[in-house]
């Protein structure tokens, strides 16, 4: 694996793994994330995975206190780059963990998906065709960002891509499934936004009381399944 290090300020380092979005790069991002989870060195505060990079936040004070006396003149950043290089050279294999596939049940249309008609009209499809296309996609979560638990998902069929609404909504309910340009996404918390809403999931995507607060993680595969309004109500009740 080729690693390029770049400083992000004086307390973090960005490990660059590529310059374009691809499943292969995402795999490398996950391998590094898994290694960091496994090793958990004391001097790492946390890491932030993204499309083509993993950024490691470290504690320079901890490092100056604990690094061996031979390296006293070395500044924390250089020490960190060397350490990460060694840490990551231990394994060059990809993560053993089987990628997870997570089913996201969606109640399409009506009150839960007020823009479904619009998406259908703009693409010259029927509502049914939009739903079928949305469900048949092979989706991959590239990263979590923007908002707590918010997945950047790749893999939507361009047939149903639709520009954002010209007037964003002031509030979009949690669980809303939408389309913005060529991307599809699910809103974990209530926020304002301009996405075209085609449905809603009863699942909780972000729960601060859980040890892993975000339901989805980088590298997850997603399958959207269809449920009725009645099932939505039942699942919502069960998820509480």
């Amino acid at each position: 694996m080729e690693l390029n290090f770049h400083p992000l300020g004086d307390q973090s380092v960005l490990i660059e793994l590529g310059t374009t979005i691809s499943e292969e790069t995402n795999q490398q991002v996950r391998t590094i994330s898994a290694l960091l989870d496994e090793q958990q060195p004391d001097w790492i505060i946390e890491y932030i995975p993204a499309f083509t990079s993993v950024t490691v936040l470290y504690d320079p004070i901890y490092i100056t206190k604990h690094q061996s006396p031979l390296n006293r003149d070395q500044l924390p950043y250089d020490w960190v780059c060397e350490k990460i290089q060694t840490l990551l050279s231990k394994t060059t294999e990809s993560v053993n963990h089987q990628p997870r596939t997570i089913d996201i049940p969606v109640c399409y249309g009506h009150t839960y998906g007020p823009d479904l008609t619009n998406v259908a009209e703009q693409n010259g499809l029927t509502e049914e065709e939009v739903i079928e296309t949305h469900m048949s996609g092979d989706y991959l979560v590239y990263m979590i960002g923007f908002a707590p638990g918010f997945p950047y998902i790749g893999g939507m069929d361009e047939k149903i891509s639709t520009p954002r609404r010209s007037e964003p909504r002031l509030s979009i309910p949690a669980g809303s499934v939408g389309i913005a340009g060529g991307q599809t996404g699910v809103y974990p918390i209530e926020t304002p936004g301009g996405w075209q809403l085609i449905g809603r999931t009863p699942l909780t995507l972000f729960d601060p009381s859980k040890e892993t607060p975000s339901l989805l993680q980088s590298g997850d595969h997603i399958r959207f399944t269809r449920i009725t309004e009645e099932e939505y109500g039942r699942l919502k009740e069960a998820d509480k």
């Binding site: 770049h6 400083p7 992000l8 300020g9 004086d10 307390q11 973090s12 960005l14 310059t19 374009t20 979005i21 994330s33 505060i45 946390e46 890491y47 932030i48 995975p49 993204a50 499309f51 083509t52 990079s53 950024t55 936040l57 320079p60 004070i61 100056t64 500044l75 924390p76 950043y77 990263m143 979590i144 960002g145 923007f146 908002a147 707590p148 638990g149 918010f150 950047y152 974990p188 918390i189 926020t191 972000f206 601060p208 009381s209 892993t212 607060p213 975000s214 980088s218």
Partner: protein
């Protein structure tokens, strides 16, 4: 208990931030001026990460329903106890029933109020910081409001020693300041007005030559739309050599990113975890507390330093704080 009689402009409970959850998209939050937050805690014998009250420009009115010790650091927003001026950067003994209020802001933008023991709010994802947009942490996930009642955690050994030391003998005295204070190199605001030191950002070369020069030669105004998430800077729009798009990647406290319209945004405590705008520069950690004390409407300029210099300055500052911490601890014994 501490009773909020008036909320002030924006008063929230913060600690040093929520770390370990940014990979789940959870922002770090935390005190904007972490140095003042830490020193306020140290002055009352707390752990540096104990929850303090971050007070913005126009302070709250608070009624103390128990005898305790407090310290106010950071900007000077004219604190008064029962109508009498009280010093900042000093431990202060306050009697039950006394009222702390703030007057006309004198210098700086944010004050940090620490009370012995620290404010007792539940830890959410290992932090007491308030993440207002998501309604997480702090006091009920929001800024303080009139009528709120805050409890205080149990006092450390140091806090108890301090309380005994500065307690006034005369029962009619409503508050008493300690006879010592933090040296001026931490509290002097005149020194804090100088230029903010930055390192070049990862996409510095994406900007045209004129913009690269202007960024350091011109001053910028902090726009009124600025908040805890970021300072929006106006006065000198920057432009790119060519249109290039960037994939979202991690950003941090002090990252200066530039959207296509050209006005830079300095990301602060409530920044998102990742960003997709080109980064022209990054504020050196040592200057973040100073930056956080600038008010919207004020202007600032940037000076370039090397990455190594930024690291050295940070280590040096932390060493000074360590010395201060030892000095303060010696006062409790």
């Amino acid at each position: 208990m501490i009773h909020v009689l008036k909320s002030g402009l924006l008063t929230s409970i913060q600690d040093l931030g929520r770390y370990g959850y940014q990979k789940h998209g959870v922002i770090a939050s935390g005190a904007m001026d972490s140095e003042s937050h830490r020193i306020a805690n140290l002055l009352v014998g707390n752990h540096p990460n104990s929850p303090t009250m971050e007070i913005t420009l126009m302070g709250p009115v608070l009624e103390f329903q128990e005898d305790t010790c407090l310290a106010i650091c950071g900007g000077n927003l004219s604190p008064m106890i029962d109508g009498e001026r009280v010093s900042t950067w000093k431990p202060v003994y306050i009697r039950k029933g006394s009222e702390l209020r703030f007057g006309k802001p004198k210098e700086g933008f944010r004050s940090y109020l620490a009370v012995a023991g620290g404010f007792d709010v539940p830890e959410v994802m290992n932090s007491a910081s308030t993440y207002m947009r998501a309604g997480i942490g702090g006091f009920k996930g929001r800024a303080l409001q009139k009528g709120d009642c805050l409890s205080v955690r149990s006092k450390t050994k140091d806090s108890k020693l301090l309380l005994e030391k500065i307690k006034p003998k005369d029962k009619n005295i409503t508050f008493q300041e300690a006879g010592w204070f933090v040296p001026p190199e931490f509290s002097n605001y005149e020194d804090k007005k100088s230029s903010i030191r930055v390192m070049a950002g990862r996409e510095f070369d994406w900007f045209d030559e004129k913009s690269q020069k202007n960024f350091f030669q011109h001053s910028f105004q902090i726009d009124s739309k600025s908040d805890r998430m970021g300072y929006r800077l106006t006065g000198c729009p920057l432009s790119f050599k060519e249109e290039q798009s960037l994939l979202s990647e991690a950003v941090t406290f002090g990252t200066i990113q530039v959207p296509s319209e050209g006005n830079p945004i300095v990301l602060l405590a409530d920044r998102q975890t990742t960003g997709g705008y080109p980064k022209i520069a990054q504020v050196a950690s040592v200057d973040l507390p100073r930056l956080a004390q600038l008010r919207p409407g004020e202007s600032l300029s940037f000076t370039q330093i090397s990455h190594n210099e930024a690291q050295r300055l940070y280590l040096q500052r932390e060493n000074e704080i360590k010395q201060l911490q030892l000095g303060i601890a010696s006062k409790f014994r």
